[in-house]
Subunit: 191 residues, 2 copies
Amino acid sequence: MSAAGAGRRPMRSDARRNRATLVEVARKVFAEHGADASLEEIARQSGVGIGTLYRHFPTRETLLDAVVRDRVAALSDNATRQLGGSDPAEALLGWLREVIRHAATYRGLTAALMVHLHDTDPLYETCLTMHKTAAELLSRAQRAGAVRAGVDATDLFGVVNAIGWLAEHTPDREDGVDRALDIVVNGLRGR
Amino acid sequence: MSAAGAGRRPMRSDARRNRATLVEVARKVFAEHGADASLEEIARQSGVGIGTLYRHFPTRETLLDAVVRDRVAALSDNATRQLGGSDPAEALLGWLREVIRHAATYRGLTAALMVHLHDTDPLYETCLTMHKTAAELLSRAQRAGAVRAGVDATDLFGVVNAIGWLAEHTPDREDGVDRALDIVVNGLRGR
DNA sequence: ACCGTACCGGAGCCTTACTCCGTTTCGTGC
DNA sequence: GCACGAAACGGAGTAAGGCTCCGGTACGGT
């Protein structure tokens, strides 16, 4: 079930090592240059050939997924478990902020997520994680009367990614994202 | 003031012809493949060499601007003049819808607009047109009490582009954009 | 008809995505 | 510890697009 076809035997040691290095370097390079950074650059900095990168990660999305999957899952856990007892509106807002901040770090990630919400490609599971979290937080907030009815998880998923995209594109004017988020959060409340 | 340096004499007839063809073809190709379509493809379909394209439009943004400038201006005119007498909230909503629909046609345009809001590059004027329109519609809506205070034109510009981006990325689920827009519009109202 | 110049075209160079296959390295059985 | 098969590696090769540069072409004024 692990990404690089660990169907049978465990990976060879050099393969495991290279894979780990690639993910680590990719995390850095994606954060620095965005999700459409040069894959050759990642291979170079990892000290492996481009062929090795492509064997471990047949597509850019596979690599991107390896980079963000854990972090997205952690955000979800954080939102649904740790904040489980707290104010539903607060929990929702906190998660939105974190997801948006994450999106601003890996510029271009939001676009990839939107694309892969409907297929079965690598990033699909990560999308699903986000979508489920959106659904849970939303449902709790709606039950608490903090969010009006008529909004569904897909709406929320779309909106959070849209604001995430906005965050990518407004590196200056940091409060701009907060202000946009404020509008959206206000819009989620009852009329 | 015209884009291709008509500082002195009028353009030569072949140049004028080629320029017009390029814009027309670009309009089609950008609409079909998005704002990052192949420029070589545009030159090919226009029946001119790539060098000719680059002489008329030194950057992709210059060409993109030539394609969308009139349309954006028309949307602004429509919003501020024709709808001048009608309900300010209605006028604002109508403009938002149109801009978003336009953004969905030229996928990637929103990103270019966000980037060039703060420089003096070609698309800057188009950005400014949108920004000014946002300011006018917003101000009227606020005076009419349809939009709460504390929202400024830059917020609105950001939000409309964010929803435009969302529209680019949800070709299916057409109502998804309406639903997102509904959330935002609701969020613009008083608390 | 002639000439100066504005304009044209595409070869050429660079960067990046992605593939293919000869070579190297691992790890297991003896 | 050695040998051998499989797993993994590396990078040359192919393709495509961005952008430049300059020898050639054709417009338009005289």
